[in-house]
């Protein structure tokens, strides 16, 4: 049996090698945080060398290891600043949900392809009138024989240009007694007729997309979970999305960069390292609850809130300690090959993406502390 520390070391060496391989591609650098960047090549190499879904069952392309192994691996991916947007969506979020909620045939069809690094997902949740209030979504899916006809408009979709498939939250019962009761989850091939994209550039350096869906035909057996029972699947999706161990690695890398530039480790940096350890432990707790199938919403939101705030504090502290130099984005005068500057830009989105900080706090208060709705 390989120990956690051994496999973490292996992952570290792999991520360092892959980062070196990708660093000459301008598209792979300076996007912001790793969650802002994408690389098809990087994703393929991860899959080919067995680093996707180590905790998934062997029969589905994984290695049958402990979920904490995956968490540690993702932290090393973040530390080495690999472009991870497609990975995080396909593996950490959607792949894990498919494992728990997809039919056996759908899981057997999709998960081995994801694990092999051949299939990238994007996620169609938000809409112009449904952001934090996800239950307000309007994209419809009408059952017509053995297929759904999907029409609507998704927004803030990461990795849409890279993705092969899209994971869609849709309204299948417009007459449901409560908004969240008429929602379902579908997965669809991005090459389906009727799907169009529009790119939206971000201050982080990566891109988000609008996804326009016009009478897109999706086979009915590509439903995840029960018809009109998608809310439960969506909540599980958000729980997985909110455990972002790669950001612990991001923070530790930038702290190393700042410390190297300063030539010392002031107390402020040590404080942030301690905070990163707390964020790591909150993430581990949430991952363990998710793996055991226990309620994890509040724990996942705590993990998300803690690391989101830490990302911002790290960028603020680095900028304050290093002054104007902190914002140089390239070249020998930059801090950490531009990572601090990139983080400073990207950190503005850390308390928005994946659920705004205010929403995390609401989940913690209501589901964790028992505060009244």
């Amino acid at each position: 049996m390989v120990s956690l520390s051994e496999i973490t070391s292996d992952a570290d060496r792999f991520a360092a090698r892959l980062a070196a391989q990708l660093c000459d591609d301008p598209a792979n650098r300076f996007q912001g945080m790793p969650s802002d960047g994408d690389s098809r090549l990087g994703y393929e190499v991860m899959g080919r060398e067995g680093w996707i879904g180590p905790h998934w069952p062997v029969a589905l392309g994984g290695r049958g290891l402990d979920p904490l192994v995956t968490l540690a691996v993702e932290e090393r991916f973040g530390y080495h600043w690999l472009p991870l947007s497609g990975y995080l969506l396909s593996v950490k979020t959607i792949g894990n949900v498919l494992l728990g909620h997809a039919s056996d045939s759908l899981a057997e069809r999709l998960l081995p392809e994801i694990a092999a690094g051949r299939l990238v997902f994007c996620q169609g949740f938000s809409e112009p009138e449904a952001g934090s209030d996800l239950a307000a979504l309007r994209t419809t899916a009408r059952l017509d024989g053995d297929r759904y006809i999907v029409s609507g408009h998704k927004l803030w979709t990461s990795s849409a240009a890279l993705a092969d498939w899209i994971y869609l939250a849709v309204r299948t019962d417009p007459d449901a007694s409560r908004p969240h009761r008429g929602i379902s989850v579908l997965v669809a091939d991005m090459r389906s007729p009727g799907i169009e994209l529009r790119e939206i550039e971000t201050v982080g350096g990566g891109a988000l997309y609008e996804v326009f869906l016009t009478d897109v035909e999706v086979p009915a057996d590509q439903l995840v979970g029960e018809p009109n029972g998608g809310w439960r699947v969506l909540m599980s999706t958000l729980d997985h999305e909110r455990v972002t161990s790669e950001k612990v690695g991001v923070v530790l890398r930038v702290l190393d960069d700042i410390e190297a530039a300063l030539g010392r480790a002031p107390l402020e940096l040590r404080r942030l390292r301690g905070e990163a350890e707390a964020a790591r432990l909150l993430g581990r707790r949430a991952a363990c609850l998710l793996a055991e199938g226990r309620p994890a919403a509040a724990a996942a939101s705590m993990a998300k809130l803690s690391i989101s705030l830490l990302v911002r504090r790290t960028a603020e502290t680095g900028t304050r300690l290093l002054g104007p130099r902190a914002l140089i984005e390239r070249g020998p005068d930059s801090i950490g090959e531009g990572r601090l500057a990139a983080l400073t830009r990207a950190s503005a989105g850390s308390t928005v993406a994946g659920g705004a900080a205010e929403i995390q706090r609401r989940v913690i208060a209501r589901q964790g502390l028992g505060c009244a709705a």
Partner: protein, 293 residues
């Protein structure tokens, strides 16, 4: 009354085996029982502090009971490091004296020309540049201070080093982190109790969105600290814990409104203790890291 389980009795494995989580829990339970025995009927330990007072909350009876249970071994036996933070969390949860935590260093803590919990004829320990310097206490003149730490000025510490400085500091860092975690945890419990029972705008405070948002921040900080307590927290964890506990307790004070501001409620103790403990911890960590001249 349950007789406290002495530390030696918690060791079911041979001495060279580090204690596991069960032993840490068991010893923490022992400390909790000791603290409960020394509390008043309202389950609080006495608080001698008033604004402007020069006082100490050191508790000789509590010290003796902890010593008898094996507390002092935490500072000298590196194998027992995993026990320090969970046990000290019980002191923090009770808003108890910090003196036992300092004793893990080998004497009363001294830093930046100030000492806390110094006793006449006792020993002072000053962390400096990776060493623990020691000296004898003269006649301490307590200063009016924001917390009942028995603070006095000291000068001229140029005495020999205490052996095993690294392990003692490790135990002190772990215990200090645990103490702060317990302090913050109990503060959140008090704030939640208040917010659930106090009604405004037609419902409990916990139904108000701004209150929920604040409590969620405090709870996230507290849970992070609690998890650190079980992970042998070191100096970086302590550097975070001081600030996190201070922030969490400040939120709890805000949630309890004017009531929390009064001396009648115990939360102000945590507010003062969180702030003082953080500033002392920061000073100790800075002195410990400071290059030797």
């Amino acid at each position: 009354m349950t007789r406290p389980v002495a530390l030696a009795a918690t060791r079911s494995a041979p001495l060279h085996t580090p204690p596991g989580p069960d032993e840490a829990r068991q010893f923490a339970h022992t400390v909790r029982a000791i603290v409960a025995r020394h509390a008043r009927p309202d389950r609080r330990l006495p608080d001698p502090w008033r604004p402007g007072a020069a006082v100490s909350d050191a508790d000789a009876a509590l010290d003796d009971a902890l010593r008898e249970a094996g507390w002092d071994e935490l500072g000298t036996d590196v194998q027992l490091l995993p026990l320090a933070a969970p046990a000290a969390a019980e002191l923090g949860r009770a808003f108890a004296t910090l003196a036992p935590v300092d004793r893990l260093l080998g004497g009363a803590l001294c830093v930046d020309g100030l000492a806390r919990y110094a006793e006449e004829g006792g020993e002072l320990v000053e962390p400096r540049a990776g060493l623990l310097l020691r000296a004898s206490v003269g006649r301490p003149e307590l200063l009016p201070y924001t917390d009942a730490l028995g603070v006095c000025t000291v000068s001229g510490l140029r005495e020999p080093e205490l052996p095993a400085a690294g392990p003692r500091m490790a135990a002190w860092c772990a215990a200090s982190t645990g103490y702060l975690a317990g302090l913050a945890e109990e503060s959140l419990r008090l704030a939640l109790e208040h917010a659930r029972s106090r009604h405004a705008f037609g419902g409990p405070l916990t139904a108000l969105e701004p209150v929920q948002q604040s409590l969620a921040d405090a709870a996230t900080l507290v849970d992070g600290l609690t998890l650190l307590t079980g992970a042998q927290p070191g100096a970086d964890a302590l550097a975070h814990a001081g600030e996190a506990a201070e922030r969490a307790v400040a939120i709890c004070m805000q949630v309890t409104g004017a009531l929390g501001f009064t001396l009648e409620l115990p939360l102000q103790r945590a507010y003062r203790r969180g702030r003082s403990a953080r500033s002392w911890a920061d000073a100790v960590l800075a002195a410990w890291e400071r290059p030797a001249r």
